[in-house]
Every structure is written in structure tokens, then in C-alpha cells.
């Protein structure tokens, strides 16, 4: 099974039905796969904090939700994560493209990469870093952990991980 197939299968297995996203090159394959899967309502957002609002609403509407985004957007999501997702105790899996790691062609991306884990740590968000393609096998357990604990959880997926998907 490809990485993209596995991610989508784990989302379905964990009853995620509502997805919002801002695209990233590394996430193009999984986003295509999501659009090809009938069980998801996929509502692309214009900015990631808007997406976190959409997910909070869908969660209260009884649908498990997730956001797919790039790590460069962590900054714009901080207030929404803290005063909405965390304050009201809502689960939110965040599948994050971890740009700026080894294999990155764009120097500017490294500038956010060096802050990504520190920011997530400061926010006390459980964070998992997928580097090898086999790391995808952890996803099912992580999603289950997220909904059990009712917390936002970050899954950072780097270039080496996605290379394994090719």
C-alpha cells in the first residue's frame, strides 16, 4: 500500500469525515487521494486558522475532523489552537508537511523548520515526526491517541518520508 493510500485508510478507519487543508507540494498526492474518497467532506481553507475554526465547528457537529497544512503556518494557528481547540478540549489531528528539512531545495523554508518543533513543544502539542516511509505505520495509533485525549496532535512529515512514497 502506498503512503498516501495508508494515510487515507487510517483517516477512514479512525472515522475522520471532515478535512480542511491549505496545499503544499509534498501533500499534493494525499490531497488528491482525499478528493477521490467519497466519505470525506473536504473544505479547503484560505488560511490555517480559518481551517481550525471550520474543524471546531465540524467537531461540534459530530464529525471527526483533521487539518492538512504546511509547517510554515504554525505561527498563524497559535491563537486558534490555544483559545479554541485546547481551551474547549477538542481533538484535532494536524497532518503537517515539514518543509525545510534535509532534501529541501528552498532555503527560506529552513528558517521556519528550525522553529517548528520548539513552537509545537511550547504549545504542549504531542508531536510525531515521520522521517522513514515505515513511520506511516504509527499513524493509526496516533489518530486514536488524538481522539482519546481530545487534544490537537501534530504529525510532521518531512521530505525523506515523502520521497519514500514515490
Amino acid at each position: 500500500m502506498s503512503i498516501n493510500d495508508q494515510i487515507v485508510a487510517d483517516f477512514v478507519k479512525n472515522k475522520i469525515e471532515f478535512i480542511t487543508s491549505v496545499p503544499c507540494k509534498q501533500l499534493a498526492g494525499v490531497l488528491n487521494q482525499i478528493d477521490a474518497t467519497d466519505s470525506f467532506t473536504h473544505v479547503p481553507c484560505n488560511r490555517e486558522d480559518e481551517g481550525i475554526g471550520l474543524c471546531a465547528g465540524a467537531t461540534m457537529g459530530g464529525k471527526r475532523s483533521a487539518i492538512i497544512m504546511q509547517n510554515t503556518a504554525i505561527g498563524v494557528t497559535i491563537n486558534a489552537l490555544v483559545t479554541l481547540t485546547q481551551f474547549y478540549r477538542m481533538p484535532l489531528p494536524m497532518l503537517i508537511s515539514y518543509r525545510g528539512e534535509v532534501g529541501e531545495p528552498v532555503a527560506c523554508q529552513v528558517e521556519m523548520a528550525v522553529h517548528t518543533k520548539d513552537l509545537l513543544n511550547q504549545l504542549r502539542i504531542p508531536t510525531y515526526h515521520f522521517h522513514h516511509k515505515d513511520d506511516v505505520n504509527e499513524l493509526d495509533g496516533i489518530l486514536n491517541h488524538c481522539f482519546m485525549s481530545r487534544k490537537p496532535v501534530a504529525i510532521l512529515t518531512d521530505a525523506t518520508f515523502w520521497k519514500g512514497a514515490e
Binding site: 469525515e17 479547503p44 475554526g53 479554541l84
Partner: protein, 184 residues
């Protein structure tokens, strides 16, 4: 009429409806005038009321009324294209446009200057956008509840605030009781 007057005119027919209210005075006024388990009060996160309401409307079938403000929508203008392109016929967005940041001391917003909220909503692709006066608002919202079409309402009202206490409810309690109403 100021915002709290508009809210008072809505109460007779929204008490049993799912209502999402914007951070600050809109939530506090709603809480003071008619606290209901079917109200979701935003205690933080300025700008996202319309997004929370849209996610809620897309996830279930009950009608959802969002009471938002012009300052909040200005902070999240990206919401209009998302609303327009993902229409939910059970979604009513009421933007109380008083041209000011009421909760922070009535500083003037750009919608109180040159920016026309109604035209922005239409330019972003929203199809059923109604601009009305504060006095007309209750009738327009009532008609939106009776219709089968997503409705964006821009209610032009005067700037001004009443004295209201802060909301002391625990956020998890607000969410849990709201979700029970959603699931009823």
C-alpha cells in the same frame, strides 16, 4: 438601534436554535439576554465565528445562525470565498455591521469607512447576500430560517454597547451542552 437592541429582537425566535456568537460583547450580550445551551459562546479566537458556524452547518442538518461583527469578519476575510464555494443551506451568517470594534472601545473599522462588506461578500461569490437596517434585521433573519437557502445578512446598526458581565462558564461545559443540543 445598537447591537444589543438587534440581539433582543432576535431572542423570541432563536432561543431554541443553534447560535454561534462572536468573541467579546456579542457573546456576552447573548449570554446576558438569553443564556441557552444551544448558544456556543466564543471566549477567544477573534475572527473565526463564521468559520466555526460553517463547519457546524456542513457537518449536520440543523439550521445554524452565526452572530458575527464587521471587525471580526475583516480579520478573516478569507471566510467569504470558503462560504461561497462550500454552500450549506442550513447556514445563516448575520454580520452586525456597526462600523466599529465595539468590544475594545468603539475604534472605527474599515467597514465604517470605505469598505463595503456587502459588496465584498458578493464579489467573493456569496449569492444570497442581504443588507438591511438594524430595525429590519429580525424579519430578515426570521425569513432566512424559513428559507432553504444559505443567507448572508449585513445588518447596518449604530455603534454602542451596554454594560455586560464576562462569561464565567467553563469552556468545556459550553461545548458539551452545545453538542448535546446539536445531537438532539
Amino acid at each position: 438601534m445598537i447591537r444589543s437592541d438587534v440581539i433582543k429582537t432576535l431572542v423570541p425566535f432563536i432561543s431554541d436554535k443553534l447560535v454561534v456568537t462572536n468573541i467579546g460583547l456579542p457573546s456576552q450580550e447573548m449570554h446576558l439576554i438569553d443564556d441557552q445551551p444551544s448558544n456556543f459562546y466564543m471566549l477567544g479566537t477573534m475572527g473565526l465565528a463564521s468559520s466555526i458556524g460553517l463547519g457546524l452547518a456542513l457537518a449536520q442538518d440543523k439550521k445554524v445562525l452565526v452572530i458575527d461583527g464587521d471587525g471580526s469578519v475583516l480579520m478573516n476575510f478569507g471566510t467569504f470565498p470558503t462560504i461561497a464555494n462550500n454552500p450549506a443551506k442550513n447556514y445563516i451568517l448575520l454580520i452586525i455591521d456597526n462600523g466599529s470594534y465595539g468590544s475594545t472601545g468603539d475604534q472605527i473599522t474599515y467597514s465604517g469607512k470605505k469598505t463595503n462588506m456587502t459588496e465584498v461578500a458578493r464579489a467573493c461569490g456569496c449569492e444570497n447576500v442581504i443588507e438591511c437596517s438594524a430595525e429590519e434585521t429580525a424579519d430578515v433573519v426570521k425569513a432566512a430560517f424559513e428559507s432553504d437557502e444559505m443567507t448572508i445578512i449585513i445588518s447596518k446598526c449604530e455603534s454602542g454597547n451596554i454594560k455586560v458581565p464576562v462569561i464565567e462558564h467553563d469552556p468545556v461545559m459550553i461545548k458539551e451542552r452545545f453538542m448535546k443540543e446539536v445531537a438532539k
